[in-house]
Symmetry: D4
């Protein structure tokens, strides 16, 4: 029995208000067999549950999106989503948008109000783009203005130095880099804003799929740098949003 049916039965007086409330509460973390969706999460934390599409079938992703829409969800974000899964989900959710680089799906007709501060997402090279874009889209989805500062790797450090003022406009900075991950340290040394460092699995040989960048970022000689998991663009965007909330909303 889904939410609509409960409400219909209530309206038809086949349920008392108390029974309906109990059912709705049970319903709020809805089970699809393969997934429980926590519908009270948005209420508790201000952020709706996000769909991690990796390891789910196209059918399952579509099922979850459908279920969310049926519960009236107005803000849907899915990450690590292949094009095939997007197509399945879009079929049950018109208006769902796909970003090929970030591999995200977004349904967001009425975006969240914007936080006052701005988030800057910087990345070292073109190979880091998918992770950087995932951070950008996550942060925008959660209600933040985001400025991109891409391809500013330290091998050509003049590209970064010539745009320092962009860093200065930020409330929080996300620094995305693979290989030796030096970008986080250089940015951390140039600014006093909190820096969220995201190591990427870009590189080969002794980059060990991002471990080298991860370790380098954890050992940053600059203060004010903290780190999320390898390739975790979503996590960085979420953390940046979580920090940016401290400055309050724009309309407030």
């Amino acid at each position: 029995m889904n939410r609509t049916e409960i409400l219909q039965k209530l309206s038809a007086q086949e349920l008392t208000v108390e029974e309906a409330e109990q059912l709705l509460q049970a319903d709020s973390s809805d089970e699809l067999g393969y997934a429980k969706i926590d519908y009270q999460r948005e209420e508790r934390t201000g952020v709706p549950e996000v769909i991690y599409c990796e390891g789910k079938t196209a059918q399952q992703v579509a099922g979850i999106v459908k279920n969310m829409r049926e519960h009236g969800a107005e803000h849907i974000l899915g990450t690590r989503c292949s094009e095939e899964k997007y197509l399945a989900a879009a079929a049950v959710c018109p208006g769902l948008q796909y970003d090929q680089t970030a591999r995200t799906i977004v349904y967001d007709p009425e975006p969240f109000p914007l936080n006052r501060g701005k988030i800057v997402v910087a990345c070292a090279g073109t190979s880091d783009l998918p992770v950087a874009k995932e951070a950008v889209i996550t942060a925008k989805f959660l209600g933040n203005e985001v400025e991109e500062l891409f391809d500013v790797g330290v091998a050509g450090i003049h590209r970064l130095l010539s745009r320092i003022e962009i860093l200065e406009r930020a409330s929080v900075i996300v620094a995305v880099a693979g290989m030796e991950g030096a970008l986080a340290s250089v940015i951390g040394g140039l600014t006093d804003k909190p820096v969220i460092a995201v190591p990427t699995s870009v590189g080969y040989g002794a980059s060990f799929h991002g471990v080298t960048a991860l370790l380098a970022m954890l050992n940053s000689c600059a203060s004010g740098v903290s780190v999320v998991n390898i390739d975790n663009g979503f996590g960085a965007g979420y953390m940046a949003h979580s920090i940016n909330c401290l400055g309050g909303k724009r309309e407030e």
Copy 2:
């Protein structure tokens, strides 16, 4: 006034040799032979240079403190400081205070103005105290109200659950834990505030001096958690301060 200007003024007899010598000594990135102190850092970033005492002799620590005081520094923080080094430094800097647990030295007669938000520092067990205290003292020194929530490890999870309201009062939370580092995930799941996780080297065997806690924290299933280096209480306190600045100062 830089080195060249000083020398030009000397040559133009606008300075006596003595004055020039003093100025050169006091030059902005002062060299003590074993260390250059960056006296413009506070101006640039709002945070004075902090002394990392490990690997320095007692004499060197004392020399740096003395040099800072002579330059009029009113905010001095030193970390990883043994008692012996403290005593040497205190001899040249009356009023210098020592925390035996955190192993910090602080000279701070006129504290920085307070940020509006509050930082909560939570730790899992008594063995994590030195790291937690380093975070607490760092954050306080930089101008933050800090609330401690110690010994709330997940093996006795009721101790944490019964104090959730403390987490809710925070702007930022620092979560300090060794062994399996589960505290960060549990706190991350209970709150929507940004969480800075600090793995500690507490544990034995397969804890690998903090690596297990570090990895666990990086893989936290809760969003809004980012991580600093093992035992890096200072870094966590600094990052928390850096975030807390977004909320503005109290007196503003």
Copy 3:
């Protein structure tokens, strides 16, 4: 020719004692060229030999199942079995059942008598289901009542806390989790029952295919937790059964 048939022939004097002895010896660990099946294992340990299907061809799996059935085996369990291998085996063993999630094959027309105690299998997320289900099916196959407690990861700890009474009903608990594996510690802290922790390879980046969860579980701050290999649902189910035997059978 299985054990019973050999004995019948001996009894019918169609075989000499010497011939029977030779046949029985050859029989007890039957060789298929690619595998020796230890038919006395069930007698020795109460548990029949289990087929690990990974790395075996569909033909080999079917061959083993056929051989076991010909020896009169009434309890057959195969793990890590693809659908293709199942189909090959089912062709020679009508009644063989397949679980797509757990990837197990089971032939069990007359189940083993039940142990008195109950085993609870808990898991953190939907991605952990295959491993959790393998544990469930193994434990059931060996003669245990099993209760499932799925999708109770610590990121939404209220889901676990609201079902503590399920843990209390258990004799043994299997805790299945990937990523940072904190579930084992939290359950270990909530109960005094023995907890078998199973790390899964769920996660990405610094989860290192389950190593992080493994290390975290080995370092659990809660007592009464021991650990099996990554993704080893079978091993956990077996261990839980082995423990649960101490409480005796229900009908005794």
Copy 4:
């Protein structure tokens, strides 16, 4: 006297406010500044809080023992305790006993009632003795009959094979070994009882302080083996007790 009782007595004017305050301070999770002792743990789980002495000063260990005795604790166990710390603790707790090999302190004038089953603790070599003994003493302390089977490493496998009947008498077996840790697999192959494997840091070179034994045990080809942290004799003894409880108490 718990918190509620104190408050009731205060309300009933059987206590002054001052007395109540003192009692509350000394209340169930007693704070010594450096440690909180969870006095309700025994009630909740049947097992009192155990003192992990490593990383605590002699004074702190003595302080905790004294505090526990003052709260009427009748069962005290401390692990990883140096002789110096024992002496400090014994001064405030007459009757406290020390085991030099296991490095444990025990105060246990009225032992817990015995579980019905027996625990066997086996170890590979003389260097594994400290860990094996810690397991033995822990299991005995918690109320179990324990039989020792020491120095039965697989390099001289006849020593183990000639004592198989000891394994058969056990409800649970703890297998302690360093180097290549093969003992756990061999015992696991010889018995159908649950085996708790404890890797030790015994060895050199590529033993990596117990990591090799740990990995070997996690990969045991025998079923019914689970593993605790390196050198965690306490954890193994606790887990074995936790399992052994399933068989009920002797006097029941």
Copy 5:
């Protein structure tokens, strides 16, 4: 044209000394563009160059075999050879034989004379067969009697113990095992013959593709065990042969 033919032509004055020298130089390490074959290796060491087929195309393998046959090579061994590569090589070398399990190709119409001693190759499970068979075929090819002792893993140790006399007949023993690799230690403890241990990549999770077995074997508590690389059946067979040569040839 091989070495003998060149010398014969020289002796018959069909070649000048200079021409012969050039041919011999070109000849002794023949270049195929993609590989140099060292035709004097057999003369120097008694063992012809062996073809490692992995990473070579079917064409290249066939080319090398053809070139060797043209130089009159009477003993050809190729390892890690797919069926497709075998077929290409067999087309240019009638009589070439393939072993599907070991993935070896052998051309050996007139085998080397036998060493006096016997080599026993033991392996733990059916999954270890490919590596064990590679060792068997290599040792046989180089001129050794080999006895197989397969599927004697320590989980069912009675299977090994009941065949100790086979170990006693050996001059050298090759012990092949994956997972925890305990077989090498158990065999090493049962015999005083040199044991060459071969870890295999059999296992999952914390077996780390053979690393666990490798480490366990290096830490064997039994003396007289040395180790070759993971899955290196060829290397073990070669080493066993190299040792077995010490006992002299049978016909001597």
Copy 6:
């Protein structure tokens, strides 16, 4: 009751022959509390039990030596023995000899008969001497002629090349090297004799206490090389002896 007492009682007819035999059997693996000495090992394997002194106190080492002498042991070898432990043992065993470099104790008034073949022990640098010497002394003690070829590291490869004939005289070669461990490959390429490679913990930084040399040796491009644990000079000497036995004794 020790061996002498048993025999005296037998002689005094206080014991029957059967009783005496039982007692002697029990006695053969003599327990000293801290160690069981396997006195039938020499009979079983031709090699007496060797004392690994690391982790034993001076008193324990002396106790074992004394006990062995009382059982009439004529061949005693102890490894990893500090000078202090030697002195304690020498006090109860006149004639015991110490090698400061190898850190071995040897009591061997009537050496074992010599094997026919010769063992060569080569090492790369002076820092590898302790391990090389342990191999030399072990091999000599077990009854082998040993030739030393020290300080022939590949950085000055002419030193090795100018002494190739020494390698040619060997039956078995032990190659000892730290850092990058290239010596084993170079020797393996120069000879067709079995090579036992011993990595040493010599080096710094990325030598990781011998792990680099260990890995390099396991990956030797030369055939006929097998490897023992890091710094395991004893194991290499033992393995070399075990191999050298195949060639028979000199006096035979």
Copy 7:
């Protein structure tokens, strides 16, 4: 508008000098959406930007090559380029050449003037060829005479020793090897020229995809050896060129 067009417009007075300068600056790091090409790199460093084709689509590679040609680039090098990507690029850049082994694309109608010194690239086995060839082609492209010394692995060290004079003719040596990487040490010991060591991912088992060779090379007992990343033939060729520049150009 490309560089040529800008200059033409300037020359035609359709642009002021100021406007042209602004356009050229904007132009110099041209953005293709997926890549920024730094056209002033060649001017700054004497070396044009090199295309790393891995992780780029055939279309993107072709797009970059086209864009470079349109900017008048006369020296184009692409590495890690599949045949498919080459074909796409060749379609827009006639004269582009492909090396199947090295997987490089080169457009270089008017090569750079040659450095005076010669670079020798040595490699251990045929499997190391792709990396060695990448180094050769990179060094040649940048303006160096290169001599190849292939298949000189230390298992047959006579092949290297007989060609020492080639090493002596070099200014810089690149040593390419997988497995145990001993080639770098042996060459380093034979010469006083700077040696750039390149570990390759050639090998299996404990070669760990080149990590063993990497570690061995970092620990070379020979001086004058430095190391680049695993399989980084390009980096080695670049570094060798960078060193060789010190000797000046030939025509100078």
Copy 8:
């Protein structure tokens, strides 16, 4: 009898040429029991043998220095030398100089002629000084002008950027850094000179004693960077010299 004495005797006809040659050969790699000194190294490679003092006793260091002086050595360099060892060596070699930071001993009354190019040694922080100084002293000793650029870590990148012209004056640059080792990448991005990167063991936690810096440097996104072992200041100085030789001597 040292080299000079041999030659004097030859000149005095007290030796035949043959006898002298034999003596010189024996002499050239002089054995001290604990070390062979290769006196022809300087002749062969232009660089005398350097004493690695770690792991040698003060007596041994002094013995080697004495032996070298007796052979007429005019250039002596010892690294990793404690003050105590220096004092012992200075007693037998007046004029021997000690650098407390670098921990080197140098005897060099008549320095080698200078190479034309200049070497710059840059380091990130004061804790890297010992390694940087070892590189400086090594390079100077071998005949190079060296310029120091210390304390230019990327956390305060303005310090490096303001001194770029120093980098431009160099022929070769040595970049020394611990923690995340980003200095090498930043310098590599700023210059086209060959950069030798030296990771140091400076840092804590996840710096893993220099492994993080090592990995980061191997993965530098800048070209023209190669790496030596952790803390290997000597190796970097030697490599830089080896490169700098290409530019020829100043007096040439």
